[in-house]
């Protein structure tokens, strides 16, 4: 059972997470797009397990339904038609969803402590209780995966069924897949399977077949076998060389330390000032007012607090009680 002790990275937290458990096996989901028939059983199983029900959509002239990821659809099938140079039409279907990067851009960008965590087995999970709905995770994600729900302004994405995996099971989408297109196991085993499958595809004539496990994000825990690994963009815009936006690095690496330093220096200067000059001496409120009021020839005002002794019999508290120029 994974508990908070197995979290190796936590958003916006400077305390070093535990790192000594070196024998947690990294897990991975392998999606072999050449075997996918686009049945969307994975979409249904995902919603069922995670207690989500997206709105019933409309037909937009394609099989994509819904047409994009939403806060309630954590995975969607993306269908694209591609005509190759020799006039062959290819119908490419890709299961889109979180890639569970080894270096997650969402986690790096997130300013809410504990809203995004990474487990020792590689799963990147969102803890909605801590989410502040700023949307930085979307900016930080090179795959454009998280979605903010208009219902609660919180960010959602695939959890790789971290609750199931913790309990020793496989993700819901993996289990349901009828064509053996989605597989699950340790990252080592999945890479071995992927290599075998790439060999098979090459033997079938797909010379550019390959594994999609992009190094730009440190590798991913959701990998694809693509028949055209030379051009992943063909699969509904899968980025060829995904990288975390430099803005995230600038915010966390430059802006944040500088701003923190400014706050620190200000606080330090305040302490020094207090030590050298002492506390600010303020004249007492009431005597000053009384003094000024009597000097001006007005009626001595009651302080703003209620004071029965100052109350003249029969006179209500109204503007006349207060002298001119004392409208504080």
């Amino acid at each position: 059972m994974i508990n908070s002790q197995n979290i190796i990275a936590r958003s916006a937290t400077t305390t070093e997470p535990p790192q000594v458990r070196s024998h947690v096996e990294e897990v991975a989901k392998l999606i072999d797009v050449s075997k996918c028939i686009g049945c969307k059983a994975c979409q249904v199983a995902c919603m069922e397990w995670n207690d989500l029900r997206d709105d019933v959509g409309e037909c937009h002239g394609t099989y994509d339904n819904p047409t994009d990821l939403t806060a309630e659809s954590w995975t969607v099938m993306r269908f694209s038609e591609h005509e190759s140079a020799d006039g062959n039409l290819e119908w490419l279907i890709r299961k889109d969803g979180c890639m569970h990067c080894a270096e997650p851009g969402c986690l790096k960008a997130c300013p809410a402590p504990g809203a995004i965590v990474q487990y020792a087995n590689g799963i990147v999970d969102f803890d909605s209780n801590h989410c502040i709905g700023c949307g930085y995770c979307i900016t930080g994600c090179p795959f454009d995966i998280p979605r903010i729900s208009p219902k609660d302004q919180k960010s959602y994405k695939c959890t790789l069924c971290s609750d199931r995996v913790n309990a020793g099971m496989e993700p819901a989408c993996v289990k349901t897949c009828p064509t053996n297109c989605i597989e699950f196991g340790t990252k080592t085993d999945m890479l071995a399977r992927a290599e075998k499958r790439v060999g098979d595809l090459k033997a079938l004539g797909f010379r550019d077949a390959g594994i999609y496990d992009p190094a730009g994000v440190g590798g991913t825990h959701v990998m694809y076998v693509l028949h055209h690994a030379d051009d992943p963009n063909r699969y509904s815009g899968l980025p060829k060389d995904p990288r975390i936006s430099p803005l995230v690095g600038a915010w966390k690496g430059v802006t944040k330390p500088i701003m923190s330093a400014i706050i620190g220096i200000t606080a330090f200067a305040g302490v020094i000032h207090y030590m050298t000059k002492g506390p600010k001496e303020e004249p007492e409120d009431s005597p000053e007012e009384e003094h000024r009021a009597t000097r001006d020839g007005g009626v001595p005002p009651a302080s703003l607090g209620y004071d029965a002794t100052r109350r003249r019999p029969g006179a209500g508290r109204n503007a006349d009680d207060r002298p001119q120029g004392e409208d504080r």
């Binding site: 059972m1 994974i2 508990n3 908070s4 916006a12 049945c39 969307k40 059983a41 979409q43 249904v44 199983a45 919603m47 069922e48 397990w49 029900r53 809410a112 402590p113 504990g114 965590v117 999970d125 803890d127 959890t159 971290s162 609750d163 199931r164 913790n166 309990a167 819901a172 289990k175 349901t176 897949c177 009828p178 303020e282 409120d285 009431s286 302080s303 703003l304 607090g305 209620y306 004071d307 029965a308 504080r328």
Partner: protein, 197 residues
């Protein structure tokens, strides 16, 4: 009770309150201890094996319901997934099977026998006993009237051609075998299965 707070003091108090709550907003607050981020929802749920109700592939399913079956508990199905031990599907389910939970709880699901009497435009709820009795009566009457023992050449055929039978595709081998025996023993010829759908 007199509360002597000057305007200045009021602003000081307000400022302190705002500053402390802002600090809490920025994360400088004690964290609640967490056992885990996501709890596994099937722990100790009652698990029941069954066969998917849809097509003739007959995939195995596991039905999970709340409660352990104690007499004071009303069972409620809250999750269904594939049965990894089933030889046909080995845990996988198509999109229809994967969405069986909503089929179970569908408002449009037929949950009891109904009859629409001849000449009526309304469906009337009847008991299972009444439904089975009526079906048996209709079958007996029709079979008595139309059963063919011998054809024109005098050969024994034992045909009953005026009534057909549609069987469920989700049946197990054994249930299918018994259904077949019952139907053919009655002499029924028109016998089909949802497997064709």
């Amino acid at each position: 009770m007199a509360i002597n707070v000057t305007r200045r003091q009021f602003f000081k108090l307000g400022g302190a309150g705002l500053a402390s709550s802002s600090l809490a907003m920025m994360g400088f607050a004690p964290e609640p201890a967490e056992a885990s981020i996501r709890q596994f929802k099937l722990t100790h749920a009652k698990e029941t094996r069954n066969t998917c109700t849809y097509c003739s592939v007959g995939c195995g399913i596991l039905i999970y319901s709340k409660g352990d079956g104690s007499k004071n508990v009303e069972q409620n199905v809250f999750h269904i997934e594939g049965d990894p031990d089933h030889p046909v599907s080995r845990g996988s389910l198509c999109p229809k099977g994967a969405g069986l939970l909503d089929f179970v709880h569908s408002k449009g699901r037929l949950a009891y026998p109904q009859v629409r009497e001849a000449g009526s435009d309304e469906w009337k709820r009847i008991s299972w006993d009444e439904a089975l009795g009526r079906i048996a009566r209709h079958m007996k009457d029709d079979r008595d009237a139309n059963f063919v023992q011998r054809n024109a050449q005098g050969q024994t055929v034992n045909h009953w051609t005026t009534t057909g039978f549609l069987a469920a595709s989700g049946s197990s081998n054994e249930a299918g075998y018994i259904t077949h025996k019952v139907v053919r023993n009655l002499g029924m010829v028109a016998f089909d299965n949802q497997a064709r759908v």
